[in-house]
């Protein structure tokens, strides 16, 4: 992997974010390169969600610069749209559109953004539904699917935009244990295809298997940024050690 400016996917420089008085992100510096897979972990409230939500403009940062695929993220609608076009996101609560079928969920964005006809968009969507192994559910409503299936639909829906970067915000945290595996397997397959990914998760086995780097956050700061092996075997900070011991106890 060549870490050059041309294949910088995410570049955050001195980024700060406040919610009112509350300082949620503090002096974040982060560079992520094409094909890299990052796992973000840390205690609740440490700013993990806020960090990735700033990357596609769901939250606004007040200070510092964020560049995604070379585009500076600012208040300009054009810049936000340009960035979102190449960045997919998967949420903890799936956030599927409950009144639309699985297929309709998937074709909405490509029809609007890629100007595809319904037939073309459906064909595209079907290929991604096949990839997450639920083509047979295409005409069902989200409410008729299991949690694991819903999350896989959400992944397929994001992939339909053919993004160059995927953001995951605790994609398995609201799933029953028996469904976690199917979603993680889908994500591993995606990783094997070389997709750049930033994934907030506490699934440490997943981190060990697919991550190039683990980022540990605490109180709005990036405290560690290491290879999974180094992070798990030799955490540099007391906070990370404490966090790992708490997680591994479970």
């Amino acid at each position: 992997m060549h870490k050059t400016d041309e294949n910088l996917v995410v570049n955050m420089q001195n980024v700060n974010k406040w919610f009112g008085e509350f300082h949620a992100l503090k002096d974040i510096d982060l560079s992520i390169y094409e094909g890299e897979r990052i796992v973000v972990c840390g205690p609740s409230g440490s700013g993990k969600s806020t960090l990735i939500r700033c990357l596609n403009g769901l939250e606004k940062h007040q200070d510092g610069t964020i560049k995604v695929h070379g585009t500076v993220l600012n208040d300009n609608t054009e810049s936000v749209k340009k960035i979102r076009k190449n960045v997919g996101m998967v949420f903890q609560q799936f956030n599927l559109f409950p009144h639309l079928t699985v297929m309709e969920n998937c074709i909405l964005a490509p029809m609007e953004n890629l100007h595809l006809s319904e037939v073309e968009a459906s064909k595209l969507a079907m290929s991604f539904l096949e990839r997450v192994q639920i083509p047979d559910q295409a005409n069902k409503l989200p409410g008729q699917l299991s949690g694991g299936q819903q999350q896989r639909v959400a992944i397929a829906r994001a992939l339909c935009m053919q993004p160059r970067l995927m953001l995951f915000d605790e994609p398995t945290s609201s799933l029953d244990p028996e469904m976690i595996k199917e979603v993680l397997d889908t994500m591993v397959a995606l990783a094997n295809d070389g997709m750049s990914m930033i994934c907030v998760t506490h699934e440490l086995n997943f981190a060990r298997r697919v991550a190039h780097r683990v980022i540990f956050m605490d109180e709005g700061k990036i405290v560690e940024d290491q290879s999974p092996k180094d992070f798990f075997e030799n955490p540099q900070t007391d906070r990370a050690r404490l966090f790992l011991s708490q997680i591994l106890d479970h």
Partner: protein, 227 residues
């Protein structure tokens, strides 16, 4: 029609009923105009309340708050008697009643609709934005179809309030069921005493309002069953 009613109810009741039913037309027209006009204005106000521009939202909230705090009767006095006197022109009762009811209706419906939109989970907006779907498309294709579920029952229920509300317009000389009935009740005609006229009027109002109330209640029950 008039002869038929006279045949059935005799004089003067046949004539009274005929006139009351004929006047009900105007009650219905006014209600429809109030609902249509109020609905259009409410849609615009609702859009402002959810617009990403915070200033516009403030204006819309103020509008809602202001017209919800003024009794309908007060609005009728102001538009029908106050303002015309102030600027020295005659305003016909139709115009004044329409303006009052549209203001009243729009403020109420905007509040209902704003609430219905707010009841849709914020994750739905975020999913739309994350998929690079524009604000307007997200609103149209994702949010509104879900918000209608929350807003439909109270909207239909409010139509009942509008119909009843139009009865106040008699006060500025709007000739509807209410005014016609009141005239009869005051007339020195035997058989048109208030204790006869007012129950007839109540029955007419009931016949218009009850079906709407039933529909509203049914929609509400369906909602509860779904959630």
């Amino acid at each position: 029609m008039s002869e038929l009613l006279i045949d059935i109810f005799g004089k003067p009741h046949g004539i009274i009923i005929f006139q009351l039913v004929a006047a009900t037309r105007f009650t219905i027209y006014l209600s429809l105009v109030a609902f249509g006009g109020g609905g259009v204005v409410a849609a615009m106000i609702t859009f402002l309340t959810i617009s990403p521009q915070p200033g516009l939202g403030k204006i819309a909230q103020t509008y809602i708050w202001f017209f919800q705090s003024i009794p309908l009767l007060m609005l009728l006095f102001l538009t029908g008697l106050g303002v015309p006197r102030l600027i020295g022109v005659d305003v016909n009762p139709w115009t004044a009643a329409t303006i009052s009811l549209v203001l009243f209706t729009s403020a109420y419906l905007a509040e209902v609709w704003r609430g219905a939109i707010a009841a849709v989970l914020p994750g739905q907006w975020e999913a739309g934005f994350a998929l690079n779907i524009s604000f307007v498309s997200t609103l149209k294709k994702v949010i509104l179809p879900q918000a209608i579920r929350y807003g439909l029952a109270p909207t239909v229920g409010f139509m009942v309030q509008i119909i009843k509300g139009t009865s106040l317009a008699y006060i500025i000389g709007f000739s509807d069921l209410m005014l016609t009935g009141k005239r009869w009740a005051n007339a020195p005609v035997s058989g048109s005493e208030p204790f006869i006229i007012f129950p007839i009027m109540a029955v007419i109002y009931f016949c218009i309002c009850y079906p709407l109330a039933v529909v509203a209640r049914k929609l509400e029950a369906e909602d509860l069953a779904k959630s």
